[in-house]
Amino acid sequence: MSDTPFYSLRGISKAFPGVKALDQVQLDLYSGEVMALIGENGAGKSTLVKTMTGIYQPDAGELRLAGECISLTTPDAARNLGITAIHQETVLFDELSVTENIFTGHLLTRGPLNMLDWSEMRRQCIKILADIEAQIDPDILLKHLSIGQRHMVAIARALSFNAKVVILDEPTAALSIHETQELYKIVDKLKAAGCAIMFISHKFDEVFAIADRYTVFRDGCFVDQGKIDNVTQAQLVTMMVGRTVDQIYPERAQALGDIVLKVENFSHPTEFHDLSFELRSGEILGFYGLVGAGRTELMQAIYGVSNNITGSLEIAGQVVKIRSPADAIKAGIVYVPEERQSQGVVLDLPIDQNITLPQLNHINKNGLLNPASEYTLADEYASRLQVKAPNWHELVGNLSGGNQQKVVIAKWLATQPKVIIMDEPTKGIDISSKAAVHSFMSELVKQGLAVIMVSSELPEVMGMSDRIIVMSEGLQVSELQRADFNPEKIVSAASGGLNEKTIH
């Protein structure tokens, strides 16, 4: 332990078109200590990691390593200085052996012909694996390993670069409890070896278990830092969410109608367990949770994407069996997916054809298309959503993200659904489109539609929803009515801190 930080950042700013991702932030990492970086989605953590590892160049500010000012122009430069990050989804090669994975990019060679020195690499690989007490065969192909073991390999790879700064970006998100314990042990070893470690996590129990210090970010700004012993979980939550709500959300006050959707005891073998809820017409039901809480999987189950689901589903009082998206659309449930470009729209089809795609058999009973009537239908909904395009013959691939999202929503509205599920509806779209999507959502419920909104943005989920269901690790942990919305409660429930079910 030392008093001067080993790797420190001062006044770092980074802006992207339309967004200031980091604003004058600071951060200190000490050798032999674990620093937990805490912040909501969108607080700027990922941008910071990328700045610290040479993937992004900061617009302003300085990085100091062991007291010296450094500039990281490439990820390679960072790696050569011993700064390495292990990402949530590890980037490794399935079809290569563990040894090959560890040394790809800095293969060892020998002799005048620069022949690859496999025996030396294998020897070093065994040594590194032994150092972190990972019992992994160096010759096994990566695809045969569990996710936890892959993390071990990723860490071993980082160590093979003689890492002095190790950044772990939500490393436990996909790990089992046992694997998480293994990871803690490795972190302890890295500490003992004098590495400066940054640990990003949404789970407070983890933070308190392994961190020595904490730093809190909010909306791209530095909030506070200090020793973990001098802070409580409640204080951390307040620092994380204690925001001024500067975005204006449409008024949401109206009488709810009848129950349109009733989900009972929905369970999936691995993703979620025993979820039940009702949804009334005119209601926006928010689903909040951390990444990996099972929200998207639940929505996809309702929409008929995943199989082997147990439980029952009623639409307007009638039990419906949904085995495919086609069944769901027929039953009046539509889904605006999170992955807009791959799941939401067909990029190489024009706007009008994207909008009519789900109901070609309705508009055209005999199987023959009528482009004029298609265009009319598309025109009605694309105009309602104010899609910005020269005309509706424009390819969707040429539109901005926000306008593509409007096309997806227009497509589903044209089918006149009863329930519309929106999965992260404003993820990655610009502010004005975001506001348009929000005001449109509130207009929809006024017309009696029922909306389920999955969102990881706390202000959005609190601003838009009539009711919020919080999920954590595949379970429904809390349900709050609008009057009881409270950011601290929601965040700590999602982080697994609040386990009692509060139903009003």
């Binding site: 998206p325 067909v346 190489d348 089809l349 795609l357 023959l368 482009p371 691939g397 901005s400």
Partner: protein, 328 residues
């Protein structure tokens, strides 16, 4: 560049005309109406098969079994005709088309229900269909003198001065043009190929679209089975061997994206005619057939380079704006 890409068909058209004119400069006869019609007639089967292949490629699959399918139906029909010369030929044609359809459906079902990659399925069925020909015929040929006169005459008969073989391709073009533009299934095939995940989330059964594409490709291969055998008046195990590669080449030259989802009937037909003109023109100016293969190969590579470069140039709107901003 973008304009050039969007007008790929015009470009292809111009190339074909330039090629025909320059060959015409060497041999006057080449540009006579009679010869041009015969060049088209020669290309008819390539056009028909390329259209079927186009649908399959659009759904992100490939059908390597078309030529084997053609050869098998051709053999079955030729054997039936030689054993029962009185069996009406139109029924034989229908039978051939039906048999081809069945073989296409087998491909389609394997891809759809068992999710086996199309290249593996059709590589397998290609060998199986060829093998069956051998089993049926014992390796023997069915020669012209064993076929009935009507059997061989039908494709040669003319209507308004154009051979029925050419008519068959013209009708197929018309039907496919309509199908891809105005049929619901046609639109779904494009969507399924362009973005299978988005199509699935939109309620389209992607596997079913692939099945339909394979079925149609098989149907056309069956039809061509009759056309081929009667036109060349012979059926044997290796009929049209390797022809599937020319069919796929025609699609690629015609701008059918091998990544699926993109391609037009016009482009596909022009691609086939392009190959047809090369095949017919090179012998006229005395180029060896080995050069023909190399030339069509080079054209394919050039076509792919041209289209991939064109795709790079066509940026998204966001990109263009930033580029404009920096260039100011």
């Amino acid at each position: 560049m973008k304009k050039l890409y969007t007008n790929r068909e015009a470009l292809l058209c111009a190339l074909i005309i330039i090629m025909a004119l320059s060959v015409g400069a060497f041999a006057d006869d080449f540009l006579s109406v009679g010869n041009l019609l015969s060049v088209y007639n020669d290309t008819s089967m390539l056009i028909i098969l390329a259209l079927g292949q186009m649908l399959v490629i659009i759904t992100r699959c490939i059908d390597l079994s078309v030529a084997a399918n053609l050869a098998l139906t051709g053999m079955v029909i030729a054997m039936l005709n030689s054993s029962y010369p009185d069996f009406p030929v139109p029924l034989l044609v229908l039978l051939g088309a039906g048999l081809g359809l069945c073989m296409g459906m087998i491909n389609g079902l394997l891809v759809w229900k068992l999710s086996i990659p199309a290249i593996v399925v059709t590589l397998g069925t290609m060998s199986i269909y060829r093998g069956v020909i051998f089993l049926l015929s014992d390796g023997a040929w069915v020669n012209a003198h064993e076929m009935s006169a009507t059997f061989m005459q039908i494709p040669r008969a003319t209507f308004i001065g154009i051979a029925l073989l050419s008519w068959a391709s013209l009708i197929t073009i018309a039907v496919f043009y309509y199908f891809t533009r105005y049929a619901r299934t046609g639109r779904e095939i494009y969507a399924a190929g362009n973005s299978p995940t988005a199509a699935f989330y939109t309620g389209i059964d992607v596997g079913r679209s692939q099945f339909i594409a394979f079925s149609l490709s098989g149907l056309l291969a069956g039809l061509c089975g009759y056309l081929w055998v009667s036109r060349y008046a012979v059926a044997y195990v290796d009929v049209a061997s390797g022809f599937e590669l020319q069919v796929i080449s025609a699609c690629v030259i015609g701008g059918i994206s091998i990544m699926g989802g993109v391609g037009t009937v016009t482009g596909c037909v022009l691609g086939a005619i392009f190959i047809g003109v090369i095949n017919n023109a090179l012998p006229v100016i005395g180029v060896s057939p080995f050069w023909q293969m190399a030339i069509s190969g080079a054209v394919i590579v050039l076509a792919v380079i041209a289209s991939s470069r064109a795709e790079q140039k066509s940026g998204r709107i966001i990109l263009k704006q930033t580029m404009l901003a920096t260039s100011k």
